[in-house]
Assembly symmetry: C2
Homo-oligomer: 331 residues x 2
């Protein structure tokens, strides 16, 4: 049997989101940095869970969310990530396969359990995340299928997963495999804390020309470049990657590809319910346009449409028919 030919293979954290509405007072009382992501250990997760309101469990994980969007749009995708052999691992595996994504990383026996992200969603729709990485951080390089990576148009990596050692090594191997096969590497910076810890690694990957498509929000771009000014940040990185995409929340997004530059406003939506996954789904829309070799502006527009869908409901996996939404809004 030959390895299927994928549009996108992603390596990411395999996480189940545990989501609950919360007041701003609770965020403050628990000493959390609103809007941020904090890593917690199992004991911390237990304590925080006890302080959380009634919740619902929905599969998440940054790159996995991006693939769910890509798959909904019609792309062929595969995911590589580590779950434990437990109920939440079964939930994650079910949900990702149920949207047509190939996922065959074997479950990991024993402790720790499958990764969970405790997400407190305030009435303004902002999400405050607390992640217990659990099994996710033990993804071995052996889980990679280099033949599949070599055959995929795009290898997509999440910066969150650069933190633990084993997956970082796996991602370096994956980049080498993609490069050897002359495939594109896309990377999302994920969060300020990973840039604070691994900014030097990221800057080296970029300057060595190992990243083709880089996703960042404004804060992450500033953290990476040391430039608070958006234009200065774009100028600092724009020349080093083939495509640089910077999301700017309600101000839309901007992208630079060589001499080409485009920007789009945020898509209008009735009400922001939960911003979890907004960046992930933006990346999904953008990458889908990229696969289809569309204009930079159209890629951005797809990103904005997918992001608008995800923030209009709870959870970071698409619920509406993304293909129909795109058809309607792109014209």
């Amino acid at each position: 049997m030959s390895t299927p030919r994928y549009d996108v293979i992603a390596i990411g954290n395999a996480i189940v989101d545990v989501m609950s509405p919360a007041s701003d007072e609770l965020i403050e009382e628990l000493g959390m940095a609103k809007g941020g992501m904090t890593l917690i250990d199992e004991a911390g997760a237990r304590d925080l869970y006890a302080a959380m309101g009634p919740a619902r469990e929905i599969s998440g994980g940054s790159a996995a969310n991006t693939l769910a969007g890509l798959s909904a749009l019609g792309a062929q995708c595969a995911f590589v990530g580590q779950v434990a052999d437990d109920q939440l691992g079964q939930v994650f595996a079910h949900d990702i396969r149920a949207v047509g994504i190939d996922f065959d990383t074997p479950m990991r026996a024993g402790e720790p359990s499958t990764a969970r992200c405790l997400i407190f969603v305030t009435p303004d729709g902002q999400r405050t995340m607390n992640t217990f990485l659990g099994a996710s951080q033990f993804l071995p390089a052996a889980a990679l299928n280099e033949e599949a990576i070599g055959g995929a148009s795009i290898l997509y990596l999440e910066g969150y997963l650069w933190d633990p050692e084993e997956p970082r090594r796996a991602m370096r191997s994956a980049i080498a495999a993609a490069r050897a096969a002359n495939r594109k590497v896309a990377f999302t910076l994920s969060d300020g804390f990973v840039i604070a810890r691994y900014g030097d690694d990221f800057r080296a990957l970029i300057s060595e020309g190992l990243i083709d498509i880089l996703f960042a929000n404004e804060g992450e771009l500033a953290a990476l470049t040391g430039e608070d000014d958006l234009e200065a940040g774009l100028a600092a990185i724009g020349g080093q990657v083939e495509t640089l995409v910077v999301t700017r929340s309600e101000q839309g997004a901007v992208a630079v590809r060589g001499a080409e530059r485009a920007a789009v406003p945020a898509e209008p939506i009735a009400k922001v319910i939960d911003t979890t996954g907004a960046g992930d789904l933006f990346a999904a829309g953008f990458l889908f346009g990229t696969i289809r070799e569309e204009s930079l502006e159209r890629c951005l527009k797809r990103g904005a449409i997918a992001a608008a869908e995800i923030i209009s409901h709870y959870g970071a996996r698409p619920e509406a028919d993304l293909q129909a939404l795109m058809a309607e809004r792109l014209g």
Copy 2:
């Protein structure tokens, strides 16, 4: 430490709902009876889960949902039900405690796992349920706190739990304890299949005067009485229980208490999203009015308001502020 004095103690299945949107075609293809509840074993649950779309997990269980509504309205509640010592058991326990309900039935070690209900929700909002009872059916009579039952205004029991042997015995003990303390016993018939199997038990409980408040939908009343006509059904049971409450979906609900009779229309809602828990939340509203010794009509109206809230979103636990909703709609 003295036992707290509860408004309502409920004994029910401790279930986590696994919910996914589904087409009518899928319901047919899988050979499910749309709108019904079917018991499945662990292997059946595995097969059906594999055929299900991406899902979300939200705590459920009929009586537990009712308590979640009662607690949101301000009642003091305790729940008795059996989960396994696994991740879904932790989810169930967390969610019920997080709304202020006392729940201290010890987790059960080993197999089977915590109960799950695979719920397929069609575009018309109808839910089709497939329940793997797992640990739930091993609730031992020893889990009961007879002192707490004796001190609670109402003991609430779900018919679903009459099926497995151990919980049935536990419920019989609980009824005896409530009776001995001169407390009210409320019972919901739950589903046609339990009436088909245990109708004789239920009719005996009723004729022996062991049930004070009986909840049924029209179909269940017909199954219990053998009378297809609503009026004939009401007449057959109405004289044997203190209060009989019959829910009629979009036709509202009717209740009979001695010579008193009242009916309410269904509350208007913008769109039916998911009917899971409609009957459970109707019971919550009705029981809350009962605790406050309100008129039969006002009790029914509270039931209709709580049911309307639950069918306007996914999941069988309230999301909106029920107290505020009641204040607004009851005037």
